[in-house]
């Protein structure tokens, strides 16, 4: 987030699997290609599922910290 641009934040803290991934997939539908979004989620499955989600959908994921992830729409 070094470019200083504001990001849409999807807060899924407290939501259990697979809700964070489903909410993320829904949120991506309205985004333009290249748009960035921050996902916050603390379910133990989310981190590994996000990388599988990235592989299956082509969207990019990078880890900010244990509960925050930056998503870039493909």
């Amino acid at each position: 987030m070094s470019d200083g641009a504001e990001r849409e934040v999807l807060n899924c803290i407290g939501a259990l699997c697979p809700t964070p991934i489903i909410q993320l997939s829904k949120a991506m539908k309205s985004l333009e290609s290249g748009t960035k979004l921050i996902l916050r989620a603390d379910d133990p499955a989310t981190k590994s599922d996000l990388f599988a989600w990235s592989r299956l959908t082509g969207n990019q994921v990078s880890v900010i910290d244990e509960t925050s992830f930056e998503i870039v729409k493909a």
Binding site: L16, C17, P18, I21, I22, S25, K26, P44, A45, S48, D49, F51, A52, W53, R55, L56, T57
Partner: protein, 368 residues
């Protein structure tokens, strides 16, 4: 709804074992260690069962120990290895939880990663192994059906003369023992034998000591039930005969499922390569994106299909499947399909015809 497609891996006792079990309980058996005619007959039957099982597994009868607590076989076999408490303990990331718990408590343990198809990191094994190491390897994984290259690992461990424990819980005798091994775990359930009985193999050319009583020659608690041993032997003979006739047919059905699912369902992960050398013939694990495993299992149950799931929202544990995580596969929306001998092709085809529509419907209901 009547279940017509039992794809959840819950198998009844093999008819050959059931017949022996009922007869044995009806008759009542004496203690094979006692004196007198009844005990002598019990001893004779026990030895015959031991030799029958030994013949099928390709070992000698003296290498077999019967256990009434099958879940303890692998943990105890490992703790009885000569250098378990002093050498390195090497395990795969996709081992059973009780084995990983042992590794967690071990002062010197190494976890081998698996690649995306579930195969263990061979180079890391070569790098880490020492002559006093203890290595635990599953012949195949029960969640994904991924089969490890045992002959290769056996050569690597054998070259170092280290302790190699093999777990055949998922495969049973579908996978043969490799040339070099030290101990092995075969629960009778792995060949549709009875619950509550399992076999620990102890290679006669390897050192091993019962960890709870090293001062004696005892190698197990000997708390097993004789009728269960007899039923296990009969079930094994019957099951192997069935497997010879059914394994290729079932592998073809699983291959068809892989192909149809990958063609008809978008955004789905299918575990493993599916290659014959790298998979069991009867297990398939798939994970569909944006679906709860629980809802998927329930929707299939309404259509008459019993299917298991490794998703955290369905499994008893809160944590997601460590096996799927280690392979980098989706942990939600998971279905663990296990086809048993006698499965009808028409049931498999009906399942494949229904599954895409069910997944589309569930995704649509969640707006994903």
């Amino acid at each position: 709804m009547v279940t017509t497609g039992a794809f959840d891996g819950e198998r009844p006792l093999h008819p050959a074992g059931e017949q022996v079990l009922l007869a044995a309980f009806e008759r009542g058996w004496a203690d094979p260690n006692g004196l007198g005619g009844a005990s002598a007959q019990a001893r004779h039957l026990l030895n015959a069962a031991r030799e029958e099982i030994a013949g099928h597994l390709g070992v000698s009868g003296s290498e077999i120990e019967f256990w009434g607590e099958p879940a303890l076989i692998s943990p105890i076999a490992l703790q009885g290895a000569p250098n378990f408490h002093s050498g390195k303990f090497i395990v795969g990331q996709t081992e059973r939880q009780e084995i990983l718990a042992l590794a967690h408590d071990s002062p010197s343990s190494v976890q081998l990663n698996v690649n995306h198809t579930g195969l263990l990191d061979r180079d890391r094994l070569i790098e880490e192994i020492e002559s006093n190491s203890t290595i635990a390897i599953q012949a195949a994984n029960g969640e994904t059906g991924v089969r490890q290259p045992l002959p290769d690992f056996s050569s690597i461990v054998g070259a170092m003369n280290a302790h190699l424990h093999l777990d055949f819980t998922a495969s049973g005798p579908l996978i043969p023992l490799p040339t070099y091994w030290s101990t092995a775990d075969f629960p009778a359930k792995s060949w549709d034998g009875p619950s509550g009985i399992g076999i620990m193999l102890i290679n006669k050319n390897q050192r091993w000591a019962y960890p709870f009583s090293r001062a004696t020659n005892r190698r197990s608690p000997e708390s097993y039930s004789l009728p269960l041993v007899l039923a296990a032997a009969a079930a094994l003979t019957g099951w192997l005969k069935d497997a010879n006739q059914e394994s290729d047919r079932i592998r073809n059905l699983i291959s068809m499922m892989r192909q149809v699912i990958s063609r008809t369902i978008p955004e789905v992960d299918i575990a493993g390569s599916g290659n014959k050398e790298e998979s069991l013939p009867h297990i398939l694990s798939i994970s569909a994106l944006n679906i709860s495993g629980e809802r998927l299992v329930n929707a299939l149950a309404k259509e008459g299909f019993a299917v298991a799931s490794g998703s955290a929202c369905v499994a008893s544990a809160i944590e997601p499947s460590h096996v799927l995580q280690a392979m980098g596969i989706l942990t939600h929306g998971n279905l663990r399909i296990s086809l048993m001998h006698g499965v009808l092709e028409s049931d498999v085809k009906r399942f494949l015809a229904l599954l895409p529509g069910i997944i589309t419907q569930l995704r649509s209901e969640d707006g994903a």
